[in-house]
Symmetry: C3
Subunit: 347 residues, 3 copies
């Protein structure tokens, strides 16, 4: 049984990472070379020459074409080989796979599975990341752990209290019960924790200027497999959205994670923090960037340890789950179902 669904969109990179330099990244175990054409279109090709498998990412761009760094086999943006050394005839089968890519919401999304099924309308949205009404900081940390451990981690924020104390964790996160909703049809999982009267962690007090206790909402919206949204709302105790749905007296932070398996045991951990306040304040941007990166690295450290534990474990180890795990267990079920669906199609 494979451990990831291939017929899904995954974030391959931030748009800013892809340019006129050849850029190598492995997605779902597939080595891929990315670049932009002279007109700026992103291209994704399998990262190995058809001839002797040399990585194309170790090669050179000639206009919009890649010239293999080993023997000079030359490819256009569709992966078709257009020149070979020592002869004029190019074999008709000389072609490397190309992958559908879409640039949206600051991300470059890639489709690894059957290209005929790559429906771009199905890419979930994170519009804040490319919205001038928000200020965004973002990054990516490599994780030496299977992506399922990151999904577990993000679906159960009670860990903030223990792993991220002093940053985003306070006692109320762990002690406040959650509500979980599962949309079986659209395959989205919602986990909410509304704290009415909570301590304000440094991450929010320093960025918003709020003093004293707060009402703090965490509304998770997970679109398996790749996109995780945390709608975070912070306001003074008692301040609620208005009846018309507007919410001018609260601070809103959209925390976005893209969870992309690199291999079965490693993950690209993309993170972004978009806020609707202090838009021009570079100090706040810098504070949130540094603090969120620290928080992500706390997770990375813990999950890298956990990967070693899980990898060394005999099969059939039985975990114990409680209420806080409802969302995480639903996520595991969805991910399993997506993989099984693909297996059935194949069979």
């Amino acid at each position: 049984m494979p451990t990831f669904a291939r017929n899904q969109w995954y974030v391959a990179a931030y748009g800013r990472e892809i340019g006129r330099e050849l850029f190598a990244r492995t997605i779902l175990g597939e080595p891929i070379v990315f670049y932009r054409t002279e007109t700026g279109e992103p291209v994704a090709l399998a990262d190995r020459c058809v001839h002797r498998r040399f990585p194309l990412s170790e090669s050179n761009l000639d206009g919009d074409r890649i010239v293999c760094g080993y023997h000079g086999f030359t490819y256009d943006t569709t992966g078709t080989c257009v020149a070979v050394p020592g002869q004029n005839r190019v074999p008709r089968t000389a072609r490397v796979p190309s992958y559908p890519v879409i640039e949206q919401d600051s991300f470059v999304w890639v489709w690894i599975g059957d290209p005929a099924r790559a429906d771009t309308a199905r890419i979930p949205r994170a519009p804040w990341l490319a919205d001038s009404g928000y200020a965004t900081v973002s990054g990516m940390e490599p994780l030496a752990a299977r992506y399922e451990l990151l999904v577990d981690n993000l679906m159960d924020l009670s860990h903030e209290t223990y792993l991220h104390g002093g940053y985003i964790g306070t006692p109320e996160v762990a002690s406040t019960p959650i509500t979980t909703e599962v949309d079986e049809e659209r395959e989205i999982i919602y986990v909410s924790r509304h704290m009415d009267d909570a301590e304000c962690p440094a991450f929010y007090s320093k960025s918003t200027g709020l003093e004293g206790r707060i009402t703090r909402w965490q509304d998770i919206e997970y679109h398996p497999p790749c996109l995780y949204l945390l709608h975070s709302r912070i306001a003074p105790v008692g301040v609620l959205p208005r009846e018309d749905g507007s919410d001018p007296d609260a601070f809103h932070v959209e925390v976005v994670y893209a969870i992309t398996p690199e291999t079965e045991h490693s993950t690209h951990d993309f993170w972004a923090v978009a806020r609707d306040f202090a838009l021009k304040d570079e100090g706040v941007s810098e504070f949130l960037r540094e603090n969120n990166r620290t928080v992500v690295l706390q997770d990375v450290t813990a999950l890298d340890i956990l990967e070693k534990v899980v990898a060394a474990e005999a099969d059939g180890y039985q975990e114990l789950s409680i209420n806080i795990d409802t969302g995480g267990l639903a996520a595991r079920r969805f991910l399993k179902r997506m993989i099984e669906r693909e297996q059935e199609v194949r069979a």
Copy 2:
């Protein structure tokens, strides 16, 4: 076939290593967290939370309880979970294994197998290490080799001549024949080498002040699997114990090794040197500590190399054994028998 016997006592640590900080050590492949209660009792628990397997050693002590560093699952000294996040009810099955531990002769001994069979009376003794009539230096070196290679090494001291020349090895060690006795019932192996007229190696001449040639006795007493005792007696040539058994004119050094498998391919190599002379002489202590550690590290270097050789070897490689290996072969037989006994009990 497993490679170690589980229903046996093993040295987990020196007593001085275990305190109010959580202390992780793997014994027979089992990750274990150790600590002392507020009243000083040593505790050993399985080093992974029942919830998501996070290592408890990466957590915090709250009084005598461990609070998991990931989601706050809280355990008492018996391994029973007494608190979980987000709910009041603690699942009845929430408990991590605890291991019997006994502190004796400066060591903390642990029992990994069936707790019902943990008979503390069966722990072999090394009383000198906690006896005010002796001065002791000790340490532990990690060995990247299977424990059987260390057993082989210690059972055949002819290697002192070649591997430890200039420290404890002289030509007489390799050239003097040994006598071996095997107590099948109590499962103890005795190997003796009595040199009547031997060169005095630096290790003993500098610590005792003896000049000239010596009578040197090496009486090994191995209690498989873990405890190895070398009763070392040094005296001027011709000086023997008296008829009444007393031996006031000789120097006695009790060399103790505890051989504890960490994994199938690594070992905790505990070593201690207890002497009945120059008890208050810090210079002698420092000399013996540094010299014995050097000797142990010479073994570690050789055995780490040997592990790679053995690990790369095809199965069925046939070694050649001679007289000096009698004790080592008996040790292998006992170790094999202990494991087989456990397999039979299981079946």
Copy 3:
């Protein structure tokens, strides 16, 4: 199916590498210890003591004998054990394998397979390396890649244009078609590329002093599995060998590679460059040594990458081959046939 033929001669070392110090090198997966006797004869023995497998290379020479560094088992130049500790009788079976070795053309050749089949007449020759009519520079670079990748690399020099541009590569190498001849009986492969009017790369312009365009011949002669010869001829455009076969107006460089598998996934990459001009010019020697080493390291970097690609690849990956690969494909066929022949003899 094994990946290398054992009943073949392989280069183990340069003669200069073997002396009165014990020298360890693994050939075809076999750890071997090399040394010279007091009269200068090279000796090759299996690098593990019959007793407990300690590497003899971690031991000491006593005259022409090796004394094991662990317990003192002592071996003569035939591998026969002549002394053991603690007893006078040496077991009759105590012996380590010895390997036939021949010193020729500056190399020490070794035979790993059945000694009865070690016909020294079959060692291919590279006479320039020990000929006073030539000046030679040479070295060995360890390659973390299977030897087949190095064979591929050397059989298809069109890669010079892309991987070694600025050193030995020019556009003409990749664009000039090759001719390939395969001697099925003697098992030699010839690949020739004669460029009539080519750019002179730095490697040749700086060493010969030639200015302007050149006629450049590359005549490969591969004696599988180990010896690869590149007869390189450089002359001003239009200058050809005379009718009598003499060629006084050209520069000749004999490039020699010995390709020796260390393990299934690593290779000893011996390289030598012999020239028939500027014999006494140390500056030219130094230039060619540094430049050829740089070129070899460019290959090492590329092939180390390629090894990782190939090792991670699922079986059955289909490469695409074109005309330039004719010689390389013939080489693969010969290597496979040599291995199959051995399998048949065994069966």
